[in-house]
Symmetry: C2
Subunit: 440 residues, 2 copies
């Protein structure tokens, strides 16, 4: 393909993308295919000779699309949103063309891990400064990290990778970790010879969008010399609205903070951002300087070498998308987007509350509604199975205080009131069918 | 921006990208700006109200481009190539539009780390199976991992992150680790109570594209029950050519293997691929299964849950680019591309060898030529400074057996013989100037 053909094919692809997004609502949100469906549709091996572009393009609908979960369908309500906007897509085209390698953040999971490794490195150095006889390995064997029992699975995995104990703190009626529980656990652990060094607080948990009480937890972490990392992967975007800023109170106690613009800030995947209070803590844990990566500005302080902040060496030029999106939406446009999603969640919450067969299982603070049929977990598992089986909308479940709960997360940029209404009508009909069947 | 405007703007962006790539040769390959140059060109804060798209686009040349290192300029010879091709760019447009989140590989650095963590988890389980009294922490404190002293800095960092000892093996005259050295080190380490568990072999090192002798090293690793990971980040792409397959002899002894199609296989950044001999080894080290990520096919064996294979949970739909590229180039096209780059490196090597002021510092096997002026390291540092200062071509250095060496890596898809010739003429003139100045 030469540059002349690229001009033609690129414009065709723009139209294909626009057509896809314009009519995405008409596609079945979740695929019907079984794992392995691709195998019979594509050859065993890459072709020896180049194929015609037309053949590739025809295969998109024949081969690829039948297996796609349409995350940007307005009927997609599973997990959390993944962002998509036209300016970000335009920026990504340019990013691909410039194709330079930054020396990033992968995702919030990586931020959690990096913060934990930095905290581990910091505490080891601190202890050794007072007591040079103690070995790194012996200190690490005494370390203990904490998170909420509602925290993302990647937090537990960070502990596993870092080779340290990770304790899950029990949460209160609002699924939040509070100061008292935390203080008690710390005292017990210290009494048994352990060294608390890291707490991963969550603002907006994955199961129910709960907020750990960082105004209580932060001062404890600071007093104990523990690293407090805040994982606000989803909820972080909402803090651009003044009315949601109080949810961020206590951030001043944090050592590091992470949120994912690729979730709820209209920046296409992937784009995850992290702040660190003292950069030396991070760099100390990761710095490596081979000659082929040295540069003139290394020690000048002018340059922030992000490669010392992360696991991979390279990164894409992701800030370009942020820049396009900030400029094309403006703060007002982005705030309006967040508020619209929160409004849709509140609207869905009202529909659920008006149906006495159902219950709301957690406060609806942002764009997530946790709900279930009053009754057994089996009943709700069955309902979810029917909802996802019908392929009209897509939801995922969570577990809250032992209950099997359905999560309705407002995800798509194009979800409107009518989609939420229609989703509710559909869910409520499936519930009626299910309950009739149970009576018989 | 609505969908109608996106159609228009998207097509304009295709033309901008095509224009950029068509005329990239005329741009200065390496920027003149100083770190911080951006600060005065952009506002302190994101705009409150949306801006006009025209204003954003105008700022690309005013704000962004002056700071860009043009990795796809045919005069870019630094590091290693980063891929770029029209089919991959088209696929990335579609990938952005579909915007689904796979649950990947970041880069080769991550592959190295993941392999090390899997190896660590495997050895701990094996030892505990025989001796359940030994704690994980105590076992880890005895572990030792190995790599070449030529290995990428990310290998050393993997050891740091995994909390294990990492030893750098000295290399022979060809900058390769050989069996004898390795065996001797292992015997010494075992005698002193350490537990060798992981060796990261490199096929195509970053400094000189050297190949560790895996036909000698592999059987040793297998006999010792050590994990052998092969990092072939750059050279891996060349193995699609039969004439380079012998360089891969011994791969059968490896537990895991990684290469980056985003380096030399025409797949735009980022796309890094990893194979593992026994998937259970990887999954065992990483698996976490919260309810919101459970799915019907979990235990069926039909699905490979890559989220258990990696640090981040999510990944982009990168296989789409591979598929476009394989189909649009065909194996023949890709082989021709690799051979062309190798041919250009050999051509440059001949030019260097014909100039007796210079010497070649390592075998030219693939697309990298390591060369230097006969003389002091200071002289060569000065030459490199002048080359990069002139901004006509871009190179980075390396250190080989104490010598400061210049690396000429054939990188761009559009580099032709005339670019290599011109680069040599330019370098050789700068050398003449430098040597004349030294005499005076």
């Amino acid at each position: 393909m030469d540059i002349t053909e690229f001009r033609k094919r690129g414009k065709e692809m723009v139209d294909y993308v626009a057509d896809y997004l314009e009519t995405i609502e008409q596609r079945q949100v979740y695929p019907d295919v079984e794992p392995g469906y691709l195998r019979s549709l594509i050859p065993e091996e890459a072709p020896d000779e180049p194929e015609a572009y037309e053949d590739v393009i025809q295969d998109i609908e024949r081969v690829i699309m039948p297996g796609v979960t349409h995350w940007h369908s307005p009927f997609f309500f599973a997990y959390f949103p993944t962002a998509s906007s036209f300016p970000a897509m335009l920026a990504d085209m340019l990013c691909g063309a410039i194709g330079c390698i930054g020396f990033s953040w992968g995702t919030a999971s990586e931020a959690t891990l990096v913060a934990l490794l930095a905290a581990r490195s910091r505490i080891v150095k601190q202890i050794q400064a007072h007591d040079p006889q103690r070995s790194e390995v012996e200190i690490i064997s005494k370390l203990v990290a904490y998170s909420s029992d509602q925290a993302h699975s990647s937090v537990e995995r960070a502990g596993l990778i870092g080779g340290v104990r990770m304790k899950k703190m029990s949460t209160d009626g609002k699924f939040a970790v509070c100061g008292e529980t935390f203080r008690k656990t710390l005292e017990e652990d210290k009494a048994s010879g352990l060294i608390p060094f890291y707490f991963c607080a969550t603002l907006g948990t994955t199961p129910s969008c709960a907020f750990d009480r960082i105004t209580e937890l932060g001062p404890i972490c600071n007093a104990e010399g523990m690293w407090m990392h805040i994982d606000a992967a989803y909820a972080g975007s909402a803090f651009i609205c003044p009315e949601f800023r109080p949810l961020l109170d206590g951030v001043e106690f944090a050592d590091s903070f992470n949120f994912n613009p690729h979730k709820w800030l209209l920046v296409n995947f992937d784009c995850s951002t992290m702040w660190v209070k003292r950069r030396a803590d991070i760099i100390g844990a990761f710095k490596m300087d081979p000659l082929y990566l040295k540069h003139d500005h290394q020690e000048s302080g002018l340059v922030t070498d992000y490669r010392h902040w992360q696991i991979p060496l390279g990164r894409r030029f992701r800030s370009l998308k942020l820049w396009f999106v900030f400029r094309m939406y403006g703060l007002r446009g982005l705030q309006a987007y967040i508020r619209k999603h929160v409004g849709l969640a509140k609207e869905f919450e009202r529909l659920v509350r008006n149906d006495e067969r159902f219950e709301i299982c957690a406060d609806v603070v942002l764009g997530l509604v946790c709900f279930r049929l009053k009754g057994s977990n089996e009943l709700n598992e069955l309902l979810l199975r029917r909802i996802n089986g019908a392929r009209r909308v897509h939801l995922v479940p969570c577990q809250l205080a032992g209950a099997f709960v359905l999560r309705f997360a407002v995800c798509s940029r194009t979800t409107e009131s009518r989609h939420a209404q229609e989703a509710w009508r559909h869910i409520s009909e499936l519930a009626s069918e299910l309950l009739r069947g149970q009576k018989r």
